[in-house]
């Protein structure tokens, strides 16, 4: 399984994602892929990592979405390749229109970094199959703009399609309906504010994030088996 971790100027969780993949996905061969790359053919999972791409100086993710690599991400997403956007990666995916809504400033106005309990609302996605329905998992957050917002119509659609994958048990940022992570309609693009790559070992405070990576590997294997 080939995994690409995108690197934009200002990405700062790219190495963490690489390490998490190396430590959890036994089949994973992972590479850091530069933002100027125009072709992502051959990758089975594309991770858009956290950080402050381009300093987040205009709006989080607003400049990164115009990087050449984002066209390739859109193409890959269209083709059904798994795309996982974490934190700033989630913000980039919404700015790029690959996921609906927007991440706004936390209602408390301050950056927040701490462990957070997420409820798994949809264990039937490629990213969450190793979790149980409504399981509470400990995945840390670290963001200043994680307040998910969308209009009523979009929210209704997210609910109707079962696109809300994770919700906060104790909403830290004012997110609409406690939303912490969503998938696209096709179910192959997931965006989430919490950091599963920081929860891959008890020494880091939680290993609940491991199963997100193993879920993806499982989904890929199944898909791969079907193709053969």
């Amino acid at each position: 399984m080939k995994v690409a971790v995108l690197v934009f100027p200002g990405s700062n969780c790219d190495f963490d994602c690489v390490h998490a993949v190396e430590e959890t996905m036994t089949d994973g061969a992972v590479e850091r892929v530069w933002h100027t790359t125009e072709d992502l053919t051959g990758y089975d999972l594309i991770i858009v990592p956290g950080g402050f791409s381009y300093g987040d100086y205009l709006r989080s993710g607003a400049i990164a979405r115009f990087a050449p690599v984002m066209n390739a991400v859109a193409k890959a997403a269209e083709a059904g390749v798994y795309v996982l956007g974490i934190c700033n990666g989630f913000q980039i995916l919404t700015e790029a229109g690959l996921l609906p809504g927007v991440l706004r400033r936390n209602t408390g106005m301050k950056f927040r970094c701490h462990s957070s309990m997420l409820r798994v609302a949809r264990p039937d996605t490629a990213f969450t199959s190793e979790y149980k329905q409504d399981e509470l998992i400990n995945i840390p957050i670290a963001h200043g703009e994680g307040n998910y917002y969308c209009d009523d119509e979009t929210l209704a659609k997210l609910q109707a399609n079962g696109q809300i994958v994770f919700t906060y048990d104790d909403n830290p940022n004012g997110s609409l309906n406690d939303i912490a992570g969503i998938v696209n309609e096709k179910g192959n693009v997931l965006g989430m504010m919490p950091h599963p790559e920081r929860a891959v070992s008890d020494l880091l405070g939680s290993s609940d994030g491991v199963r997100m990576f193993t879920s993806i590997m499982k989904a890929w294997r199944e898909r791969h088996a079907n193709v053969n």
Binding site: G10, K110, C113, A142, H195, L203, L204, G205
Partner: protein, 761 residues
């Protein structure tokens, strides 16, 4: 090489090729313009002797920053020599950007602390942010990958509106910079005392990891080699920042707002990645960051360390503003800039790296063999100074020192004369709610403490612990200094600062390695202040020798004064320790019901400088606790061994607030109560609970391990007492058979956690 002709020499002397509005050399002399730059009459005369003529405006500017306390340590040098700076593991001591200590397997840890007190006092957000940016550059310019930062902060009382403003914005500035660049802010300390009102202390520490073969030095070697400028263009930011840092804060400082630079963490992230890649490529001969005094200090120091000269072509320096003079370019403190030397034929390798990262890199000069720092602008030489004169010939002052009256007076103060506090329950809640003791979650929740996914112990325990990827090792790190102790007795306070840092590191399961120090003091011209400095340094140096934790670098910040007085002398100690195996990582919280609580160390009647004395009796007076070095070392060695043997569940150093607070903190962190019974012969209940006697640690251990722990302590002559059991939902403490404290664990937690958020609302 361009040499100074008779003609240009004459022109320089007469100021002809000076920028039109700049004062001429003659005016600088007759109007004593140098004095406004902090250069004394005798120093000016010496500069004239060194140059063999009168300096022009650019030259006197360059001398003034190179000869400031910040760059030349002219008032502190004799004291700094008293520190032990070598050791078996020390790979790089003071003198370079940061010190480096071996941690085995070809790896080393690189760390340093630095102050940004004065900039933070006038513009707290940018002052703190650029402080963080500066210390990070110090670490990666050594070739190390920064893995964590810490901060040691001091403010006035939070009831004051201006103090709240400073506190709020300093914290956001640290968060804004650290979070964006992606280096976790893992710890530090915050203390509040009216002594710091108007002059907060903002000390930032950065820790990096490095392989031995990657260690860099800031040297401009190899005559003829080109010198490159890296980073954003130079503007007129922070001109005379180094001089600014070497002056007292006055009402006028507010008007000096232009002296504060603006940080760009995004740019620094790019510069950092590009520079680390450049270093990895193996072509770097010398590299140094442009910190205080910008281009001046970096170029002069790099030339000096190689025993060479440097010629800079200022036409090539990227400029953000129009019409910048050589003076302005040399003294600008625009952020995120670096200077490096490579061999000319390697230029394409460097350029490819910087282009890919989108960072400006420009050749601005050349290494020369004549030992001079020469600046060319237009087609003229606009300054020509001997490097040695700039770097080595600044006069060093042995300041007079005098015992302050308050110190003598305090000798007679009996800190046991206060009427006994009978409601110790209430006293505990008051001390827990004191901002110095209270939870700092409001602060550290704003910091990304987990980026890099290596933080094992985040802020909120005795020391932070960061894993060393690919090994079973980890690094424990902390900053410590109790300014009240150093005020009451600078010598003892200096010892305590080092001992407490080491104790915190040991409680986390690590072996103390070395320290970096940030000496924050008042105006050294006042003999009483100089005495405080001298005494503190002696106390620290003695403790460092005793614990074999050398000083591998640091920073001096003087002239920390407000309208009333000097701040408390605050020599902050930043310490790093090595956790040999991640199994040894230990935190302060109680772990499990039924575990046995054990107190190591003796409790004496020592309330001088304690939190209890200030919160309950409203004073800071008397003598601080006595720290006995052998006792402390025995305690630390014993506890570290017990932890390494797997016998300890939790360990917490007894510090501010004494035993009562230490037990409450272990209970709060663990989310579980404890029932404790202490015997303290001859001590009043309130004294036994709140005395801040040194060399004490509270452990919790499994019932099966308890006997072995007591036995080991007895054997090592460490006073030991089984004092209770973990469990239940109350914190209950009996003293000498009498019930003293009984409070619900969640009530203590609420008071402790809500204190700062309530004050900040």
């Amino acid at each position: 090489m361009q040499t100074l002709t008779k003609n240009t020499l004459d022109s320089l002397e007469q100021g002809k090729i000076n920028m039109s509005k700049e004062p001429t050399p003659a005016q600088i002399a007759s109007e004593r313009i140098y004095a406004t730059m902090g250069v004394s009459d005798s120093e000016y005369d010496l500069i004239c002797t060194i140059l063999g003529r009168k300096p022009n405006y650019t030259e006197i500017g360059v001398f003034s920053v190179m000869w400031s306390e910040h760059c030349a340590y002219k008032n502190s040098k004799p004291l700094l020599k008293r520190f032990p700076t070598t050791g078996e593991r020390v790979l790089m001591g003071p003198g370079e950007g940061a010190g480096i200590v071996d941690i085995g397997d070809g790896q080393a840890v690189c760390f340093k602390i630095e102050s940004h007190n004065h900039p933070s006092a006038v513009e707290p957000y940018q002052g703190a942010a650029t402080g963080v940016g500066g210390i990070i550059r110090d670490i990666f310019s050594m070739g190390a990958r920064p893995i964590a930062t810490l901060n040691s902060l001091r403010f006035g009382k939070l009831t004051d509106e201006r103090v709240r403003y400073l506190f709020e914005h300093v914290v956001s500035g640290i968060a804004g910079y650290g979070n964006c660049i992606g280096i976790p802010t893992v710890g530090g300390e915050v203390m509040f005392d009216s002594s710091y009102e108007g002059n907060p202390l903002v000390n930032a520490m950065c820790v990096g990891l490095i392989d031995h073969e990657d260690i860099q030095r800031g040297v401009a070697s190899g005559v003829g080699n080109p010198v490159y400028y890296v980073g954003p263009a130079t503007g007129r930011d922070g001109i005379h920042g180094a001089t600014f840092a070497s002056e007292e804060l006055t009402e006028e400082s507010e008007a000096k707002r232009s002296a504060v630079q603006v940080g760009d963490p995004f740019m620094e992230k790019l510069v950092m990645e590009a520079c680390l890649e450049l270093i990895q490529s193996g072509i770097v001969i010398g590299i140094q960051d442009m910190g205080a005094a910008g281009l001046t200090c970096s170029s002069a120091e790099m030339a000096s360390k190689a025993g060479n000269g440097l010629e800079l072509n200022l036409n090539e320096v990227p400029q953000r503003e129009q019409g910048m003079t050589p003076y302005e370019m040399m003294l600008s403190e625009s952020q995120e800039r670096m200077l490096f030397v490579i061999e000319e034929h390697n230029e394409p390798i460097a350029m490819e790296i910087f282009e890919r990262w989108g960072v400006i890199c420009r050749k601005v000069g050349r290494v020369t063999d004549d030992g001079r720092l020469r600046l060319v602008y237009g087609s003229e030489v606009v300054a020509d100074m001997p490097v040695r004169g700039l770097v080595d010939e600044c006069p060093v002052y042995e300041k007079p020192s005098q015992v302050p009256a308050y110190y003598t007076k305090n000798e007679a103060v009996d800190t046991n004369r206060y009427e006994e506090v009978t409601d110790v329950n209430d006293a505990l809640l008051k001390v827990l709610a004191s901002p110095t003791v209270a939870s700092k979650e409001w602060v550290y929740r704003q910091y990304d403490s987990m980026v890099r996914a290596s933080t094992s112990v985040a802020p909120g325990s005795d020391a932070a612990v960061v894993l060393v990827r690919g090994t079973r090792k980890a690094l424990a790190m902390t900053t410590d200094c109790n300014g009240r102790f150093t005020y009451l007795d600078p010598y003892m306070g200096g010892r305590i600062a080092v001992a407490e840092a080491a104790r915190n590191v040991v409680c986390s399961g690590a072996e103390p390695l070395a320290i970096t120090d940030n000496l924050n003091f008042g105006n050294p011209e006042k003999p009483e202040n100089f005495w405080q400095m001298e005494q503190s340094v002696d106390g620290m140096a003695e403790a460092c020798r005793h614990f074999d934790t050398p000083v591998i670098g640091g920073n001096v910040s003087l002239y920390n004064e407000n309208a009333k007085d000097a701040i408390y002398p605050t020599p902050v100690v930043g310490m790093v320790g090595l956790v040999h195996d991640t199994d040894h990582i230990t935190t302060q919280g109680f772990k499990q019901a039924g575990d046995v609580v054990i107190l190591l160390g003796d409790t004496k009647a020592e309330l001088g400088g304690s939190e209890f004395q200030l919160v309950i009796h409203g004073v800071t007076e008397g003598r601080p606790p006595v720290l006995e070095l052998d006792t402390e070392l025995r305690l630390q060695k014993t506890v570290l061994k017990l932890i390494q043997d797997g016998l300890v569940k939790s360990a917490h150093d007894v510090s501010e607030g004494g035993l009562a607070v230490a037990i409450a903190e272990s209970a709060i962190s663990g989310g579980i109560g404890a029932e404790v019974e202490v015997s303290a012969e001859g001590l009043r209940t309130d004294v036994a609970l709140f005395s801040e006697s040194q060399s004490r640690i509270v452990l919790s251990v499994s019932p099966e391990a308890a006997d072995a722990v007591v036995e080991a302590c007895t054997q090592n002559e460490v006073p030991v007492q089984r004092i209770g059991v973990v469990g239940g939902d109350r914190i209950s403490i009996q003293v000498n058979g009498q019930q003293a404290i009984d409070v619900a664990q969640h009530e203590a937690e609420r008071v402790w956690k809500d204190a700062i958020p309530c004050l900040m609302q």
